[in-house]
Structure formats: C-alpha cells, structure tokens
Symmetry: C2
Subunit: 458 residues, 2 copies
C-alpha cells in the first residue's frame, strides 16, 4: 500500500479510536495486509494499540504481532492480558510465538505457555537461542515417513486448514526421524499417486545443524537458492525448517549490524544488535549509550597522538610549520585504514577471505596500501613543497604519508584477523583499535622523519 494512503488510514483509525468507535477502526484496517496493519499499529500509542487489537479477530491479531517490530510486539503482548494473549499466541506460527514468548517477562511466559494449546511445539522451539538455526526454525511443515504414498500425502494436505505461510516442500524421514529427502509440491503434482514419497524426493539436499549460527543458515539458503532449509540434530533427525523470509530478515539485521559497527555504533549488551529504528526514533540516552564507547576508545588514540607530539615539542617549537601537516598525516592514515577494515569485514562475512590463506590476503593488501601510499605521498609532498616553498618539508610529508598509509592498510587486515583468532567479533573491535593505533603511529612516523631531516627544515 502506498505511504500516503497508509498515513490517511492511520489518521482515520486514530480519530475513530479517540471517539471510542474501535469496532469501526478495526473494520477500517481489516482489508489491509498484515505488514501495513502493523505499520499503522506502530504509530498508535500503546494504550490505543491494546484497545484496537482486542476487537480484532485472533488470527489477524496474530499476523499483526508477527509483522510488528520485536520490541513493539513484546510491549503490546505484555499489556494484552493473559487470556487475549494466549488466544493470539495459539494463532501465531510456532517459531514466531516462541520468539515473542522469549521477549516476555518470565512470569507471563510461564502463565501463557501453561494455557496455550500447542505448548509442546512451542516449548521445544524455546530451547534454542534466538540467533541459531534452531532459534529461526518453525515446526509447521509437511513431513511424512518415506514410504507414504503421494496420494496419501495429497489427502493429508487437503485435510489441513490453509496456513498463511505454507512451505512448498515435503520432507521424507525414515523410521528414526532422520531426514531422507526433500520434494517440492510441484514434483508431487507430477508424480503418480501410488508412488512412495522416497521415489520422488531429492536425496541430495542441503541441511543445517540446529546449533549453527543464523548467519550460516542465511548463507546456505542464499547460496543454494532454497525456499526453505531443514534443520537437523547431530543424528540427522529432522527438527524443523527455516523459511527464506526469516533468512532475509537475518541478513538485513547482519547488514545493519556491520554498517553500524564499522561506523562505531556498538551494542552495550552481548549478542544484541542495535536496531536501526531505535537510532532514528528511540530515546536519546540509548543513542548515547551505543555511541560513546567507540568515541572514548578513539579519544585515547587522540590523547596518545597528542602525547607523541608532546615528546617532539622541541622540534615543533623550532619548526612550527610541522603542525600544519598533522591533519593530513592523521587523516590519510585513518581513512585508508577504514577502507581496509571495510573490505576485510565484508569479504569475511561473505566467505571470500579465508583465515587459512591469511598471509596471501595480507600481502595483497599491503601491496595495495604501498601503491596508495606512494601516490598520495607524491601528491601531498608536492602540495606541501609548493605551499611552504621548501622541498624538504615536502619530502618529510610525502615519506610520512607513504609509510603511514602502508602501515594503516596492513593493520586494517591484521587487526580484524587477530580479533577473530581471539574470538572477538572483528566488526566491533577493529575500527576503534585501528583508529587508535593509526593516530599514534602516524604522529610517531611523521615526527621521526621530521627529526631526521631537522637540520634541513630550519
């Protein structure tokens, strides 16, 4: 639905709720698709949300809660009251219900689980952490013993109520529940009704272990162009299925995370990503909390760099012109290092940088950096010579730039690799560490060259 129409509908809904006509408001949003309904909900106050959702049919309310942002959904659920909440949870897809339950207070989670009708399913999903393959999977999919006939499967599907999100695959398992193969509904339609499922499934399927990271699941779905990915345990038993829409959501989340981390926006809580709408709309103190850590670490770099300048105070007093080139040496080191970190992190996430081949990658990057350093050093050295009319200052600036840039690009690969070896997320820690090292080493290199050529500079 186009944005302007949504805004108009929101205003009408808001007005109707203010006038106490909530059934009319519910009728107004009923024809919309769930993500559009959710968008209208997001702009209502919590109190209005509660009033409206209570007059919406349970199935539709479930869809809205699924489409809402995690935090908003948890907030609304927390205020629904136990009975309405249980009714809605029963209508939600099991994986979404499990995610929502995980965000509720322990007390409310216990109460609503106890009253839910498909609590066994949801309980089994609750066992897996949110960011693993197990945490992403759903328990609603078609699975049959491998000797079930196609005709029997058709009869089973016909007897099922229509689901909102129906996975277009059928999974075959052996008597121990081990995954034996996957067939698409289109394959089923083509097959004779007397054939056993095993005869038509593809036995060369891709699957994932429940404990694997959600990022791996997203990569597999993407790499093999799958619409759904089966999740198995260590014995190969089928536990659940991850749908491609969850993979897209996981990929978007990862991308936001990487972009934020490379811009120095860090979550203060472990394993918790910074939501982009929180940075745009959330409380201001949350923005401070996630932005200050990076700024503080880089401040240490600034102070260390200042300390280095302090050591060379005497040289600076003699040739005050040296101060003019502090910004360019610092800036170029920082910026070329940032480029390298960006390339490393993205190449690493996409699997193009293999830690085992690290020497080769590092060598290539240092080669790139040396070239960049020479080019930039020549330009900046030339500019400095022209400005100050002294080729020696040009030489000092040019040499410093060449060395700083080469070192910065190398560190831009080396630091994230070391982080990775130490099991620290390279995307989080690399930027501030590199900025700090670069500021410090840049000044050291610059003033050492200056001292070396001091007599010609005076």
């Amino acid at each position: 639905m186009v944005e302007e129409q949504l805004t108009q509908t929101f205003e009408d809904v808001h007005r109707l709720l203010e006038e106490g006509r909530r059934h009319e408001a519910a009728a107004l949003i009923a024809p919309l698709l769930p993500p559009d309904q959710a968008e209208i909900f997001e702009d209502l106050t919590l109190e209005e949300q509660v009033r409206l959702i209570k007059v919406v049919e349970a199935r539709q309310a479930a869809n809205i809660l699924e489409a809402l942002d995690e935090d908003d959904a948890a907030n609304l659920a927390q205020n629904l009251g136990i009975e309405a909440l249980t009714r809605v949870l029963d209508e939600m897809e099991p994986d979404e219900a499990a995610d929502l339950l995980g965000d509720l207070t322990p007390e409310l989670r216990r109460q609503s689980l106890a009253q839910m009708s498909d609590q066994v399913e949801v309980r089994s999903l609750l066992r897996y952490p949110d960011d693993t393959a197990g945490g992403l999977m759903t328990s609603e999919y078609y699975v049959f013993l491998e000797d079930t006939t196609v005709g029997a499967i058709f009869n089973h599907i016909r007897a099922q109520p229509i689901q909102d999100e129906e996975i277009p695959y059928v999974y075959a398992v052996d008597e121990d529940g081990r995954l034996a193969g996957v067939a698409r509904l289109a394959d089923l339609i083509r097959a004779h009704h007397e054939l056993p499922l095993l005869a038509i499934v593809d036995t060369q399927f891709v699957s994932i272990d429940a404990g694997e990271d959600q990022e791996i699941a997203a990569q597999l779905l993407n790499r093999y162009d799958l619409l759904a990915l089966p999740v198995i345990d260590t014995q190969g038993r089928l536990l659940g299925v991850i749908t491609v829409d969850d993979a897209i959501a996981a990929l978007e989340e990862e991308a936001t995370e990487d972009i934020y981390k490379s811009a120095g926006i860090l979550s203060t809580r472990d394993n918790q990503s910074v939501k982009s709408d929180l940075m745009v709309r959330g409380p201001i103190w949350r923005s401070w909390m996630v932005r200050i850590p990076f700024l503080l670490v880089t401040m240490i770099g600034g102070i260390l760099a200042g300390g280095v300048i302090g050591i060379f105070e005497e040289a600076l007093e003699t040739v005050v012109v040296l101060a003019f080139f502090i910004p360019i040496v610092m800036g170029m080191g920082g910026n070329s290092g940032t480029q390298s970190v960006g390339i490393f992190i993205r190449g690493f996430v996409l699997g193009q940088i293999d830690p085992q081949d690290f020497g080769k990658h590092l060598l290539r990057e240092v080669g790139v950096g040396l070239g960049l350093g020479i080019i930039l050093g020549l330009i900046a050295g030339g500019a400095a010579t022209l400005w100050q009319g002294n080729p020696m200052i040009g030489l000092v600036v040019g040499l410093s730039l060449a060395c700083t840039v080469t070192l910065a690009t190398g560190l831009g690969f080396l630091v994230p690799l070391l982080m990775n070896k130490l099991n620290i997320d390279p995307a989080v820690a690399s930027e501030p560490i590199i900025t700090t090292i670069n500021d410090f080493t840049g000044m050291l290199i610059y003033f050492m060259f200056a001292s070396l050529f001091m007599s010609s500079l005076m």
Copy 2:
C-alpha cells in the same frame, strides 16, 4: 559441501585436467550441487574452465554459469565458442540468460541471440536495465486465464518438464493479460478440480512496476514475506515474476555497496557496484582506482585544516602546547560525524527516515550530538587540565570538542539529505564531504577558542 572437501575435489580436478583426463574431471564434479561446482570453477584458470565445461552436459553447464560470479560467467561465456554457448544459453533460466547476454560483447550477443531457440522470451527480458524490477524478473512461471479449471492446470503442470527453480505460485490473468490474482500450489492441491482458477486465487496481491528499482522489489518481497513477486506494466499486465533468491542477491549487493561507500570505496563507473570479491582477489590497480577518489577528497580536507592552522601560526608559536590537542579535536569530530552518517544512510535505506520529516530527525540528531559533545568535552577537558596543569587549556579543549561534535553530528544528517535532494547518492558523497568539512571546521573552532583565551593560556 564442507570447505575442506571442496578444496580436495578442486585439487583432484586440477590434476586430472593437467593430465588431459577431462572426462574424469567432469565425472568428479557431476554429483556436486551447482554452487559447489561453480566454486571449483572459480579456482580454475580460464583455459581449464573452457576445457572442462565443454565435456559437461549442457543443462549442468547452464547451472554452473548461473551460479558463477557475473564477471567469471561472462569471461567463460566469451571463450566458449558460439555453438557451445548457444546450447548452454538455451538451457539457462531466461532471466539468467538475459543477464549473461547483457555482459557479452555486442557482436557475440547478436550472434548467440540469433541462434537461440527461445530468443523471443530472452529478447523481451533484455529490454529492462539490470538494476530494475524488469531486469530481475524471469519469464518462466505458471500463468493461466482466470477461468481455467484447477484440473486443467494440473494437467498442464504434469505435462511440463521439471524445472530447477520452480515458482510455487500460479498466476491468473484476464483476457487482456492483466493480473487478476495469485494462488499457491498448496491452495491448488486443496481445491476441487472443477473450480475456475479465479475462485481460489488471492485477489489482494502485491506487485511491482517493471521500471521500479530492484531495491524496491527486494523490500516488497521482504516486507510481505513473498516467495515471488509479479512484475506488471502500467496497464497492470503481467510481464514476469521476480523470485526471492534474486531479491536476496540484490539485498546482499546493496549491503556490500553501503558498507563500501561508508568506508570510502567508490565505483568509478556509474550504476556499477564494487564487487567484494574484486577487492579481495581482483587486480591491484582496480583496488587503487576505487580507493583513491575518496582519499583525494579527504586529503583536501587535511590541507584545508592545515591552512587554518597556518592562519593561527602566531598563536601556535606562542603556545606550542596547542598542537598537542589537534589530533583529539580532529578525531572526535570525524568519528562522531561518521556515526551520524551511518545512522542516516541505514535509516534512509530501510525507510525509517522520511525526508519530509527531516526537521524532526535533524533536531533529534543535534540533541544527541550536543549530549555527546558535552560528555566528551568534559572528559577531554579534564584530561587536558591534568596533563598540562592548566585549567584554561582544558576549557579550550572541552569547549572546542563540545562544539565540533555537535556540528559534526548535525552535518552527518544534513549533508546526506542535501545530497539526496540534489539526486546524488548520499551513501557515496557524504563521508568524504563530511570528513573534509569536519577537519576544517574542527581546527577553526579550536583555534578560535584558543585565540579568545590566549592571554590566559600563555
């Protein structure tokens, strides 16, 4: 397939090819899934690739070309010879064939199109630019007149050969080809065979105009949890369908682009994104080409900042200690500005920042920046006071930091918005412009405060 096994297979394939046993090499990769076969191809030389693909079955060769990276696929196709190439193109999915043809030389494209058997289909796809919805769509999907019965549709599907990537939807069109509704295969299985398609389709479907940006298509697939998105013309006629795997690829490409741009890695050609594997494995001069523009622009910032310091040479000669705090003032301005740009760009891409509400967003960000500036100013000012034993230097550093950080965060939102209004991609241009402005204004603010309090600093 696990990475070690793939490496082993690659080595075996490579050895067999060297020994001239290419049929054995082909047999070795035959059981692998196409993306794994493609990975082995990527590590072979072009000459080896050509020798191997010529003994691989056309259908399998088509799958490999589809799974290969765009540039690698074009390179290989260019060297296949016209007959082998046409055979493979005919086996490829029409949208993939069109993409590949678009990457060939005009001469070879003309020749192979003339010899292809489903050239009409592919020609119609070639009309749309690569990065639009039309460029992403395929022409292989199930479409029927709205009064076709479910039984007739089943008969039609049964008569079709099995496709690798089969879209699990059936589209209904009216007599003018206008899209009337969408049904899932699961809905078809549940329906009576005598029912017309129109009776079971969902008429409340999401579609996209062929000329829209591919990013919009990806966002729609994601927002509405679709497995495929119909593409229509301005009259509502169905032109093709975008599958979710293409949307994932588009999202990944966009994410790489945004991360690269924010790290100052820019494509020199318009509308062409920098491929991450090119930065990791490609020729070194390509890395220089995309990294130098950003570094040169920021170098101007460094020179301007140096010029500002030059203006205040006298102050600096009197109080040389002022030079010690150049790094911290410059660094904090740059880093807080980078954070703001990151938040703006991501919020903008995800649709959370509305240019119409810009005043509100800017005000919030300046509020965040003021808070950050005050906190960082207090800390840095305190540290400067302790270090130099002079509270006045602390005051100058603290005030400068507070102003610089506030200004930098505001610019971090203002500059990308202006870029957007001028129809320049904000992700590309914002970082270097902001770094340049921040370096310059940071030094100006710092030395103006220093001049103001000069008498107390001496």
